[in-house]
């Protein structure tokens, strides 16, 4: 079945089905106009055209986004329904979760949330005008956050990056070209079409373009990734995605990477005190593992258990593994649900079940699985874990957990609370970017920092207008005096 995905250029909808692409899952494909044929219209030819969106106040931007949010209701928005239908087939998520994700997109556009985001991440007065600051050399430095011309290379595991991209672009008064991913070419288009239906001439609508081309297509990227056409590239994705882009990086183009991240959990010895505590902690861990079917970067994949690796310790770990598996099965359908495991991961699981002396596997198939290592190490394919397949690793000493953290680690969920306080600095030195109480890994404060940085601040161009009260030659005189003293 082929779905049509139009190209959006600044409020214009371009139909046409020049090219057909596979949507990453077998049998799902979509047709779309050939971006190469529209390449000259895609970048903002005159950077001066950013003026219209800078003329808006943050409250005006928020009002428009909130109006868009009110239209992003799955039951009555045909564009969103199309994106939802395609996502069910191409995302690898269960239908219940896809419904939950698309059903809650409007909350991201709520005025309170966007205002909080703009204020926390940048400071609204820096967006709305020049903010004077007195400097030690006697001058006044007026600072303002300006927008930039940006390409967003989006990730497609969940619809959130598309929605967040639209919001971040509008708040920072930027001009965005979204390059959509093949496993979600539609969500960003649906939001753009909702904006066009609402007001095709609104500056926020007029500074958003959305298209699909195959990552690395030099006929598109040679034309686009040039310092006279764009200022910034905001790229989600892994090595392959960044490798395409890296060759275009030069003075004048700023690359902001939203790297793929993996998350883990640490469960302290207190959890194994009794059956009831074990069950409670297993329930928290199940949420961190299985929310969104483990498709998000914040989902836990490997959990270190401070239960020991002697015979009794392994017994505790195996019992705990069963509880985690049961707790995952008991999660509500909007949070997590059965979905087929990728073939490659299924074969790793099968190999462990058949031929490993060092792992115990509970479950398998659409229910997901819990692999309990019988040695104090995670499975070698830990980065592949998804679709509710988790690995529990019993250890004698949590030092093993601390040393496993790398710069690719995002969230670490920890129980109990005092263990988090004890470990957090060491975890951060090794690369961790977020520590959280176990059970809340997927409840991220979206208005806070992201992966150890503040992307909204980086998306802006920070400009100074400096005013001096003293004579322009003041510094020169000082230098002369210095010279005389030295002589």
């Amino acid at each position: 079945m082929t779905t049509h995905v139009p190209l959006i250029i600044r409020g214009r909808i371009i139909a046409g089905a020049d090219l057909t692409f596979g949507a990453r899952r077998e049998g799902t494909e979509f047709s779309t106009p050939d971006v190469r044929r529209h390449i000259t219209a895609l970048p903002l030819s005159d950077a001066g055209e950013l003026a219209d969106i800078h003329a808006l106040s943050t409250e005006q931007v928020i009002a428009f986004l909130a109006a868009v949010g009110r239209e992003l209701v799955l039951d009555r928005n045909p564009f969103l329904q199309e994106a939802y239908d395609l996502s069910i087939r191409s995302s690898g998520l269960s239908e219940g979760i896809v419904r939950q994700l698309y059903g809650s997109l409007d909350t991201l556009f709520a005025a309170d949330f966007i205002r909080e985001l703009a204020e926390n991440a940048i400071g609204i007065r820096y967006l709305d005008g020049w903010v004077p600051r007195r400097m030690a050399n006697g001058s006044t430095c007026n600072i303002r956050a300006f927008g930039a011309r940006a390409v967003h290379v989006l990730a497609g595991n969940v619809p959130m990056p598309s929605a967040l991209g639209v919001i971040r672009n509008a708040i920072t008064r930027s001009d965005a070209i979204f390059k959509t991913p093949s496993n979600d070419p539609m969500t960003a288009v649906a939001i753009a079409r909702t904006m066009i239906a609402l007001d095709p001439d609104h500056p926020v609508t007029r500074h958003l373009s959305v298209g699909y081309w195959k990552g690395g297509d030099s006929a598109v990227e040679d034309e686009l990734y040039r310092p006279d056409r764009i200022d910034k590239i905001i790229a989600w994705g892994g090595q392959a995605s960044i490798a395409h882009i890296a060759k275009y990086i030069q003075p004048g183009i700023d690359l902001i990477t939203m790297d793929p991240k993996l998350s883990s959990s640490i469960v302290g010895r207190e959890a194994f005190a009794d059956e009831a505590t074990m069950r409670d902690v297993a329930g928290r861990l199940a949420l961190d593992i299985a929310t969104f079917n483990q498709q998000a970067c914040a989902n836990s994949r490997v959990t270190y258990l401070e239960c020991g690796i002697d015979r009794a310790g392994l017994a505790r770990a195996n019992r705990f593994g069963e509880m985690v598996f049961e707790a995952i099965q008991a999660l509500p359908a909007g949070t997590s649900g059965p979905a087929p495991i990728d073939r490659a991961l299924a074969e790793e699981l099968q190999a462990l079940r058949m031929a490993s002396f060092d792992h115990a596997v509970t479950g398998g198939g659409p229910a997901g699985a819990v692999i309990v290592s019988q040695i104090d190490e995670p499975v070698d394919f830990a980065p592949m874990l998804n679709n509710r397949v988790a690995n529990l690793v019993p250890v004698d000493d949590l030092d093993i957990a601390v040393r496993s953290v790398t710069s690719y680690t995002q969230t670490i969920g920890i129980w109990p609370e005092h263990l988090k306080t004890r470990l957090r600095d060491r975890l951060v030195f090794n690369g961790a970017q977020r520590v959280v109480s176990l059970g809340y890994a997927c409840k991220a404060a979206m208005a806070g920092p992201h992966d150890g940085m503040e992307p909204l601040r980086r998306m802006c161009r920070w400009i100074t207008d400096e005013v001096h009260d003293d004579a322009p030659t003041a510094n020169c005189r000082q230098r002369n005096e210095l010279a005389e003293t030295a002589g």
């Binding site: 990453r24 077998e26 073939r343 058949m354 031929a355 002396f357 040695i375 070698d380 790398t406 690369g431």
Partner: protein, 480 residues
């Protein structure tokens, strides 16, 4: 042209299915389907009955499928091992030198007893594999390891010999097709191999078996591009570095003491490589120019040799009736556009028909027929499965899916495995190939699923130059 196989002969073959490998090529592809079905079913039953109690992993597979005996050929489709089975050991087994545990793991995949192998003081993969070579009938083969982890296939010595006998047969002409009509093969002609002489990857293992079986163990009529060893430890290190790079953890790759101890030897070998090259090209020019030879290589190093040879002014080196065997595709490497012409100019031979095979089988190699198809040799039972669900597809007509193979010539390990290849398989029942060969054949392009679904991490099986360099570089810095 088709040679009938007498029923008595068929009965003998299924008593020892490995003898199928040794049939002349014309006979291999002339077995009527009904006879082949009988031979293959009996071979499959015999292998299963013999091995199910001797290979623990096969026993677990069969138990999971509720299979206590084989009744139909289709039952074999339930017993195809994923490639992950051959690397289901924990990587720390190698990193921390727990070779006794590695042996126990390998022992669950073969009928050959590994428990008695002495692993005391074993401090490297090369050393570990070497102990099997000297203490057992195992001739373990390992993969190139680009995914960061080596696969280990517990091939036996007998299977290694079966394998090279299969290669010799594959090089014969079918019926009246052109080729070496005088039956000349390995042993009769000097062998020139474009790869390493020693090591445990498929290529050097195969060269070693050819020398043992066809040349009586004598080396004097054999010339290898590199007389040294491709080390399993270096392949493993290179793969781990590659994996660590992707995870942002290169600084955490640790060199085992065993590997550090051999560091100087590795670096010295690297320094000597240019001298080996020199000697190789000198020998080609001085000893083998104008001779009838057998050339054996994998595509990228074969092209590499041709390019370098032409640059040295060597052209039209060998007699026109030489035998030329090239396995494998480009394996993700960039070859010059005119590589076929360069190879032809250098060797003086027409570019050979491409071969298709897989090192998990005892003997699978088959050369493309004049109609552009790869015919499945009779010791292999081909299956197709749905790439997503793993459900077997009907074994008739023409189907596209993931290729599974059950090689009934495997004697001490289970011959069933899933390849990573998407093929269109014609079972030959309704539309037999116009070349006259009977049985199933692969029609059209063979694609790796890892390429279809984004990138392939496989590198050449014959040397892995880029990665090997990186491993050596890492190693030289580790010591400074």
């Amino acid at each position: 042209m088709a040679t009938q196989i007498e029923p008595r002969e068929a009965a003998t073959m299924s008593d020892d299915p490995a003898t199928l490998v040794d049939l002349p090529l014309t006979a291999k592809f002339s077995i009527p389907q009904a006879d082949l079905d009988v031979i293959q079913l009996r071979g499959l039953q015999q292998r299963f009955d013999d091995l199910v109690h001797r290979i623990p992993v096969l026993a677990r597979f069969a138990e999971e499928q509720n299979l206590s005996r084989i009744e139909r050929i289709e039952d074999g489709a339930l017993l195809l091992f994923p490639h992950t089975i051959y690397k289901s050991y924990p990587l720390s087994g190698i990193e921390k030198g727990r070779y006794d545990q590695m042996s126990r793991w390998l022992g669950s995949l073969t009928a050959i007893d590994t428990a008695a192998v002495d692993c005391d003081g074993c401090d490297s993969i090369d050393d570990w594999i070497e102990r099997f070579d000297t203490q057992t009938d195992l001739r373990v083969r390992h993969s190139s390891g680009t995914t960061g982890k080596l696969s280990f296939i517990p091939q036996s010595r007998a299977e290694a010999i079966t394998s090279v006998r299969g290669i010799a047969r594959a090089l014969e002409p079918f019926g009246n097709e052109p080729g070496a009509r005088d039956g000349a093969t390995f042993g009769d002609l000097p062998l020139i191999a474009f790869g390493y002489r020693h090591g445990s990857q498929s290529f050097p293992r195969s060269v070693a078996a050819i020398i043992e079986h066809f040349y009586g163990g004598g080396e004097n009529r054999v010339l290898c591009l590199d007389p040294g060893r491709i080390s399993a430890d270096m392949a493993s290190l290179a793969g781990r570095l590659e994996g660590a790079q992707a995870r942002g953890a290169v600084g955490r790759v640790a060199l085992s003491p065993g590997l550090m101890a051999r560091r100087e030897a590795f670096l010295r070998e690297q320094e000597e490589a240019p001298r080996h090259r020199e000697a190789f090209f000198d020998a080609l020019n001085d000893t083998y120019r104008g001779q009838r030879v057998i050339l054996k290589g994998v595509l990228p190093p074969t092209v590499g040799v041709a390019v370098e040879g032409l640059a040295r002014g060597l052209e039209g080196l060998f007699a026109r009736d030489s035998i030329f065997f090239v396995a494998g595709g480009a394996k993700g490497q960039n070859l010059p556009d005119d590589y076929r012409e360069q190879v032809e100019r250098f060797t003086g031979l027409p570019f050979p028909a491409q071969g298709y095979g897989m090192s998990e089988a005892a003997s699978a190699i088959t050369l493309m027929c004049p109609h552009g198809h790869y015919h499945i040799v009779p010791n292999l039972i081909p299956y197709l499965v749905d790439p997503d669900s793993g459900v077997p597809l009907p074994r008739k007509g023409r189907q596209t899916g993931r290729l599974g193979i059950l090689d009934i010539a495997c004697e001490t390990r289970w011959g069933g495995f899933l390849t990573g290849d998407e093929v269109t398989l014609d079972f030959g029942d309704a539309t037999p190939c116009g070349c006259g060969r009977r049985g199933a054949y692969i029609a059209g392009e063979i694609r790796r699923y890892s390429e279809i679904r984004g990138g392939d991490d496989k590198i050449t099986c014959a040397g892995a130059p880029g990665l090997n360099d990186r491993a050596l570089d890492f190693m030289s810095k580790a010591g400074s």
